[in-house]
């Protein structure tokens, strides 16, 4: 019996190309300012038109400043790239969510606003010129990160030329211990299966732990599928998915919603689906997890020492030793945000830990909401006050210090406790900058302590 991946693939297959690849229809194309201008240019030069502008939506996230989003941006390159996207969208009839001229209040990280607006739906194929497009799989979509030439292809034809993927079922069963979050689960999965373990696979996440997770937690899991080499990650749609989508702006409304739910149920993996591989993870064994190296698979549980066999290049770059511990590492910067962990539940959990406490004097601490909507909800809940009173900076929506395309960046050899997704050399803007990936709660704890600590010690105080 088929998996959701196979069902969706079949429903969207246009034809087999002469090369043997499949021409796959893309149900939703999401576009942002950094990987699209060359694609729009290529479409124009060829005299093509955007084939399905009504199935294409755009926002600005990668380069936008988060200190002030008043237009024109102080950063002239950010202004130029945003203006180019505005022009391209206007010309093609594509709806754009951007601060300023268009007046939109729905700008944000593309993988945050897609689900938030109800654009992302189960059973869809989704493409976006960003590798973290896998995030949308949390709602049961099959979502591909693509390059700029493929953005051109999707603009021109609403299609991609792809080879099918195998499907690996990853069951996470049991109860997560207090202080252990979705981020720790996905870091553990990547550590176990390797940063290239998922090449050739779509990851289907299930099991009792995933079943109980909110959509936002599932997004954190699916988001980092690509860090494990899997281009696609997804969770089958269920009651949690339907409840999340109900009433969202672009979701089906009224009776159409009921009919949609029936189709969404039908397209999910059958209980007896056959998988190319299966892996089981015990949730109870997972600890708060931190990376020590230069790829997301190089991590340890907070109470664990770094393995004696650890990669020498990574250890040298990061300043760790084999057998040493990450706990106790002094940090310079704390970053809460990104498409991995910049949603409201992430900020709420961090605020719960921060409330009434102070950021260590030597730490620069940033909270960057994933979208303007996340920002509004946070304001209604009083989160900005909690963070700013503690000494965090509260910023506008964007990708910010996850990839440092704007002024939010590390300097020199700074160490950053980060809720983002990549600890690659140079990722956060300084060639020698060092990134420690962890959950937003762990980042909050590190910001307060000025060093990496086990968040569970602080949670005990919160509960007490």
């Amino acid at each position: 019996m088929p998996t959701l991946f196979e069902n969706v693939w079949k429903a969207h297959a246009v034809r087999t190309l002469p090369s043997g690849q499949t021409q796959l229809f893309v149900g939703l194309h999401l576009v942002h300012e950094v990987t699209s201008p060359q694609a729009f240019d290529m479409v124009r030069q060829q005299g093509w038109r955007v084939a399905f502008p009504e199935r294409t939506f755009a926002t600005v996230d990668h380069i936008v400043p988060t200190s002030s989003q008043r237009r024109p941006f102080i950063d002239l390159t950010a202004e130029e790239m945003t203006a180019a996207l505005e022009r391209n969208c206007r010309e093609a009839g594509i709806q754009l969510f951007a601060p300023g001229a268009s007046g939109s209040k729905d700008q944000g990280i593309v993988h945050v606003i897609g689900p938030e607006l109800g654009l992302t739906q189960p059973g869809m194929t989704i493409a976006c010129g960003d590798s973290h497009t896998s995030t949308h799989g949390a709602l049961g979509a099959i979502a591909f990160g693509i390059g700029t030439s493929q953005v051109r292809d999707v603009l021109a034809s609403q299609c991609l030329a792809l080879d099918p993927l195998k499907v690996r079922r990853i069951d996470v069963n049991g109860t997560l211990r207090p202080g252990v979050y979705a981020k720790d689960v996905i870091l553990t999965i990547i550590r176990k299966l390797g940063v290239n373990g998922g090449v050739g696979y779509a990851y289907e996440y299930g099991g009792s732990t995933i079943d109980r997770m909110s959509i936002e937690e599932r997004m954190t899991i699916c988001n980092m599928s690509i860090e494990g080499g899997a281009r696609v990650g997804y969770v089958n749609p269920d009651e949690t998915t339907f409840a999340y989508l109900k009433g969202r702006r672009f979701a089906p409304q009224g009776e159409a919603f009921t009919r949609a739910v029936a189709w969404w149920r039908k397209i999910a993996s059958s209980p007896d689906a056959r998988y190319d591989d299966r892996v089981t993870i015990d949730a109870a064994e997972i600890e708060p997890t931190v990376t020590w190296g230069i790829n997301p698979g190089q991590s340890v549980g907070i109470s664990e020492p770094i393995a004696s066999t650890a990669d020498a290049e990574a250890l040298t770059f990061m300043g760790f030793t084999a057998g040493g511990r990450v706990a106790g590492t002094k940090i310079d910067v704390a970053f809460i945000g990104s498409c991995t962990n910049g949603r409201i539940s992430d900020l709420e959990e961090a605020a719960r830990i921060v409330k009434g406490r102070r950021v260590a004097p030597h730490v620069k601490a940033l909270v960057v909401p994933g979208s303007q909507e996340v920002s509004r909800v946070a304001e209604a809940k009083g989160l900005p006050e909690i963070f700013t009173k503690a000494g965090f900076e509260w910023r506008g929506a964007g990708c910010s210090m996850c990839l440092a395309m704007n002024p939010d960046r590390l300097e020199g050899q700074q160490v950053c406790a980060s809720s983002s997704n990549r600890n690659f050399k140079g990722r956060q803007g300084s060639p020698n900058g060092r990134t420690l990936l962890m959950s937003p709660a762990m980042v909050a704890a590190a910001a307060l302590a000025g060093q990496v600590v086990d968040v569970r010690t602080l949670l005990e105080e919160v509960h007490a």
Partner: protein
């Protein structure tokens, strides 16, 4: 365009697993609306911190075949990475394995990413390090790489290989060729037609 069957030239061995696209092309060079000039920034930070980086080595200047290890091009989907390599003069890559997105991005630029066994790759890298002037031939057709006395098996995903051999590696025209079928699939999808 044109069919791509073999690539011949000098080669550049670049050792290391999991070389991600942030290292190939740091994000600050994505701050532009074109791909122009990216060849100047390939591995810029690695080159600055490692004086004997192969991309700094004059012996490899003008090489057109890059020889890498496992999971090359992992991470960000930025096409700026293979665009930079292409503009630098790399016409083929031979390695142990690649991230899927990088392989796809390179293929549509006409850069075949051939895969060989770890032992064969190490042998090839050593041989080139010993003799940087060696002419290397990467054959998409024969699925092999030859350097002096050494010939190794080197594969491509079947669909990608066929696309190179039949001049179909830039797929846009093909995707547009039967557009009625595209519309037909769209109208049968309930979320497009309306639930």
């Amino acid at each position: 365009m044109g069919a791509i069957t073999t690539i011949t030239g000098r080669a550049l061995p670049l050792r290391g697993d999991d070389l991600d696209t942030d290292r190939i092309m740091p994000a600050r060079f994505l701050r532009a609306v074109t791909f122009e000039g990216l060849e100047q920034h390939v591995f810029e930070d690695d080159r600055a911190s490692t004086p004997d980086h192969p991309f700094n080595n004059a012996n490899y200047r003008g090489a057109s075949i890059l020889v890498v290890n496992s999971n090359f091009g992992c991470g960000s989907s930025r096409e700026h990475a293979p665009q930079g390599l292409a503009r630098y003069g790399i016409h083929a890559i031979v390695g142990e394995s690649y991230s899927e997105i990088f392989l796809g991005n390179s293929s549509v630029l006409g850069i075949p990413c051939l895969t060989a066994s770890p032992a064969d790759i190490r042998a090839l890298q050593t041989l080139i390090e010993q003799n940087p002037d060696l002419q290397v031939t990467a054959s998409v057709e024969a699925q092999s790489v030859t350097a002096g006395h050494l010939t190794i098996k080197a594969q491509l995903p079947p669909g990608v290989r066929d696309a190179f051999l039949t001049d179909k590696w830039n797929p846009t025209a093909m995707l547009l060729a039967d557009f009625d079928k595209v519309r037909n699939v769209a109208t049968h999808l309930p979320y497009v037609a309306g639930f």
